[in-house]
Symmetry: C2
Subunit: 696 residues, 2 copies
């Protein structure tokens, strides 16, 4: 990275001419509300939360949020399942992705515009967002860890980004020079990703501000909205039409409101979610982009999966601030569509490579599954918002399914390579034509469209913020892992929660509840949908009412070191898919706790006739054995299940009449399964989640 | 097309300085043997057959050919199954492909080198072969039909091609100018397709000579071999190494020998089939290219499917001339591998898109099947040669399977679009990333690698030549359709054979045998492998001995208008695949006569819940009804078979535990099937050959 010394001077002077030294809430309705830059960061204006107290999203004042977020920094994930992933994320993924971004010219795109690089523009129109998502990952990291080198690097990049912002607030490295006339034209709005880039910039800015109190990037983002976007585009009759193109700006505008208290941002998000008739769109665009018509007129998930998920996030955020019932109705209808017709067992979404899109209902191919990492992340983000609005565990179940499986699979165990697609079956010899599987490699350190890698990084960095919520009457426990929360209830009573567990390998979780003052409140513990039989004890005494797929409300007078003990049913489940899912006919998937398993060819031993994995079948009525293997794939639970390979003794040739009697022999085998998230971390090999079965 | 007037003058004068006016056989062993150009074509030199009497390949004098080919022109295919395809081929495919070739600069590549075009080089290194294969298609067409316009066009193109040949015999439009130094270097030999192009040129030249007696292209081909290749590359110690790269030159060299009598061509083919140690090759290249090591050291089919098939054709041709037993042994071992492990039920070969390659044994995916049209054609050509060497019907069975299904599917019914891949299952929404299925379209008028379209055209144009062979003791009948043969037995007795049939829709074939003089000989009629019960009558009297998958030898004293009546078993067969073929588990394919059937979504009616085709299952023990529909797809037999769609009544959600009791309802349906070759001729729709079944 370059030294930022001279740059900082430049920024400071530019800021001096543009940014009022301090503003109160009253000033927000006017043109410009800015948060002062200063060595000692100052709190934001009135309606927003102190930067230190805001969560992944900040629902502190959201009127329709039944659950309030807990700051990321208030939760410490300790040694256990997620600590490995999070340590690798900081030590390996974020630094190597920085180097990849620089090596592929993503920072040169900015530096060129200030004359500090002579490299040509590189990457697609959405390349700026790669930098922003990486910066957001750093922001979340800095909320729980002191990483001075990382902060220094990010500070430098932020200053290099902000230096490019034009006087009118515009900031985008692609629509400059010869391309400047294309800015925000109708066709550019549909495909140019200007607002998508800015949405990610705002999310990065908010995360970075919540980590450091430094509003540099946040102010730049506000300048874009206040000085460029709002005065020229949107509601007014003299203004031009606006369409998100790739939804993302909606949720970031709401979060910008939550950070600054400026209501126009929510209104603008609502405006974009409603669609602007002045932008002429075809049916195909409306389907593909999942925007441009009233969000509340949607009845099913379709089109580009990431766009649809991000649009649902934005709509849920809009609902959390406005309570508009038509949004809640639509969001629930879409969620029903998701879980009834469109959700992979891994929590991934998006069946088709063509258009990176949802397929028809029940169209859930395995080898051809798209399941983009970004879409699974969008799915989790959407369900997080639905959970906050309702307090209903069904949303947390989907979140957990995506997190442990279809998201977690997206990053290699060593944190240096990533899946763009997350298929449910794979043959390394057959996929060379897929642009996201070059030479049959499903995990790669870089994609020219590198949306997924930094998206995974920001997700794992923000993970502590998803463990708990508070409510008017107490606290919710959503996720389980060794961890400590140090926060407070809405009435101000301090609350520490300490979890001890070997989850997800083991179903026992011990939760110590320690209020600063003994008091009555409710602890809502999540009973996962997959746990058929669950036992809950408080201070050793069993309590009734635990229902799978619900929160169990434990209302009592809590004192320091009261202990809840949860015991979930870790029996391995053989799942079938609805018969309408054609590719899963005659097949089962294995799930144990929240973890979905898969077969990799590497684990099936040296059989006489090697064949691709579909040659194996498991016995439907047999029992599964499980064993933890500490030296395999960074330590994973492994399943073994009886199965067979069918061999023909009277060779019928390759094809034979169905009424011909053929003698077959079943070679008994034990099928070995590993967690799906850990696949493709060794040599390239065939893999499948849905495994054929033989009855009996 | 340009006028050829000035060009012809140029050629004539060039020819005058290079080509002896006439040569006898004695001159052949020297450097140059040429066939004189003349308005009245003259017969070739001694050992070759008169140009009018040569078949698809000319086995008249091949010592190890048990069966001798019959000239294409000696057989007239009359109105029936193949006449539609062949009429369309001449009226539509060949003319439109000509225009596509010209539009895509394939002729400009030649014209540029004589200064008659200023267009830049276009297309891949093997683009010259597109012109040659098209010319070969014209050659075969002119062997059975008088098409003066087509001949005029082809004559012009041939003269434009020949004008490009350099003084040293070299002819290739790609390795000129800056690329000239790359000619025939080691790496160029492996990937540059120079000998592949020349192989197709020789095949075109031979077919055109056999059609017209015009040796213009043939002489140019011989100049390449005699003046450029043989003096510089191959056996001699001062010469450079040689490798085919993409096999094709081998079989064309043998055919050039059969046409000219020059034995060096066979020796050179053998040399190339053996491999040249001076060319350093990796294991991967040896596998992929299917050449470079002794052909006789091969033990299985692997690598690029078309290369492997063409290599097998060349090796079989070499065996037919030399009788080398190690070749026959290897060819049979490879054939066993083909039919036991690698052959699609459609006769297609080549499982993988990666490397356009064979997969492992039993690796025969359906939707991902590559099944390149060229590979199915290569399969037919190879089996034609194996049949000629042995007289064994097992080879004719494979030939017929490929011809009616995996080849016939390659051309649309209207003859203007082509399949590059011929998958056995298809979802139009999911294949956009495949370079041979742009925008989900499996049939296209043009591919930048346009090998398949003219290959299909030459195959259908040459089809009459595959119907019959003669042997030392009589005549073989291989294929069935309304047709007349007018040829002679080896002893000179004239023989007419007239077939009347509605094959392949009907199993009855009436064959009138009319020798010019009553005499004793054998008529070998093929009893197809798929016909479980076959009845054969001569002059109304049943004769014994018909065995499926064998020729029935009918030896008698034949007189004019003796009649053989064949009656094959047209019961629809439900075929299973060997259990090792994982993708076909729990599925059946329908075959009736030689025709393999498939389901297309379009024919399944409007069901309440549309779903992709795998949602349907057929009843295994039910009977299939068949009916000819004259107005569907140019007239096809249609099958109907009872089946069901399974619907869940107690909605279990998308996934549910395998031990949960779910109430299901089967909606009875009648599954409708059309011939596989006719799929994708209407609106884009899902298709599958292998259909799930329910027991009972």
């Amino acid at each position: 990275m370059k030294s930022t010394l001279s740059r900082r001077t430049f920024i400071a002077s530019a800021a001096a001419s543009m940014i009022p030294s301090a503003v109160g809430h009253a000033a927000l309705r006017g043109g410009g509300m800015f948060i002062p830059t200063a060595d000692e960061p100052q709190p934001a204006a009135a309606p927003s939360t102190s930067w230190k107290d805001a969560g992944v999203i900040d629902l502190t004042r959201s009127p329709f949020a039944k659950l309030k977020t807990v700051p990321v920094r208030a939760v410490t994930i300790q040694e256990g399942f997620w600590s490995k992933r999070r340590n690798t994320n900081v030590s390996s993924s974020i630094p190597t992705m920085h180097d990849e971004l620089v090596a592929h010219g993503r920072m040169d795109n900015f530096l060129r515009l200030t004359g500090e690089s002579s490299a040509p523009q590189k990457g697609p129109v959405y390349s700026d967002s790669d930098i922003y998502k990486w910066t957001e990952a750093v922001g979340f990291t800095l909320q729980t860890a002191d990483q001075p080198e990382l902060r220094k690097t990010a500070d430098t990049m932020i200053r290099e980004v902000v230096a490019v912002q034009e006087a009118g607030g515009y900031l985008n490295t692609y629509y400059v020079g010869d391309r400047k006339p294309l800015r925000m034209l109708y066709p550019t709005q549909e495909t140019g990703h200007e607002l998508y880039n800015m949405g990610h910039m705002l999310q990065a800015a908010v995360a970075y501000y919540r980590a450091t109190g430094d509003p540099t990037l946040l102010n730049a983002g506000m300048r874009f909205i206040d000085q460029f976007l709002l005065p020229n585009y949107g509601p007014g009759k003299d203004q031009k039409g606006i369409v998100a193109g790739h939804p993302e700006i909606e949720m970031s505008l709401v979060e910008l409101y939550r950070t600054t208290g400026k209501r126009e941002y929510v209104d603008l998000a609502g405006y974009i979610l409603h669609g602007d008739d002045r932008i002429p769109l075809t049916e195909r665009q409306i389907t593909y982009m999942f925007c441009g018509i009233p969000f509340t007129s949607r009845t099913k998930l379709e089109g580009h999966a990431v766009r649809a998920m991000y649009a649902c996030c934005g709509a849920a955020d809009y609902y959390l601030e406005t309570g508009d019932p038509s949004y809640w109705k639509t969001l629930n209808a879409l969620w029903e569509d998701l879980t009834a017709h469109q959700l992979y067992v891994t929590g991934g979404v998006g069946a088709r490579e063509a258009g990176e899109a949802f397929g028809d209902a029940y169209e859930l191919p395995n080898a051809r599954a798209y399941g983009e990492s970004c879409a699974a992340i969008g799915n989790m983000m959407w369900n997080w918002r639905m959970l906050a609005a309702s307090g209903e565990a069904r949303f947390a179940d989907v979140m957990e399914r995506a997190l442990y499986n279809g998201i977690n699979s997206g990053m290699s165990l060593d944190g240096t390579t990533y899946c763009y697609r997350n298929p449910l079956a794979f043959d390394p010899s057959g996929d060379s034509s897929d642009r996201h599987t070059p030479e049959g490699k499903i995990r790669n350190p870089w994609y020219d469209t590198t949306c997924c890698p930094p998206n995974l990084e920001r997700t794992f960095a923000s993970l502590p913020g998803y463990f708990y919520s508070t409510s008017s009457d107490g606290v919710y426990v959503h996720l389980y892992d060794n961890s400590e929360m140090n926060w407070h209830l809405p009435d101000g009573i301090g609350l520490k929660i300490k979890q001890e567990t070997n989850y997800p390998w083991d179903g026992d979780v011990k939760i110590a509840i320690s209020p600063s003052t003994p008091s009555e409140f409710v602890v809502y513990v999540r009973i996962p949908g997959w746990s058929a039989q669950s036992v809950v004890k408080v201070n050793g005494e069993q309590i009734d009412g635990a229902q799978s797929g619900n929160y169990l409300a434990i209302r009592r007078h809590w004192s320091a070191n009261d202990v809840i003990e949860l015991s979930f049913d870790m029996t391995t489940q053989l799942l079938r898919a609805n018969p309408a899912v054609s590719e899963d006919r005659g097949r089962v998937a294995f799930q144990r706790g929240p973890v979905v398993f898969c077969m990799e060819q590497l684990d099936q031993g040296n059989l006489e006739h090697e064949m691709n994995l579909a040659g194996y079948a498991v016995k439907l009525d047999a029992r599964t054995a499980s064993q933890f293997e500490p030296n395999l794939l960074n330590g994973v639970m492994v399943l073994e299940h009886p199965g067979a390979i069918t061999q023909v003794l009277t060779d019928p040739g390759l094809y034979y009449s169905a009424d011909k009697t053929i003698r077959e022999r079943e070679i008994p085998i034990r099928v070995k399964l590993i967690p799906y998230y850990a696949w493709a971390n060794r040599a390239p090999a065939s893999m499948q989640v849905w495994i054929p079965y033989d009855e009996g």
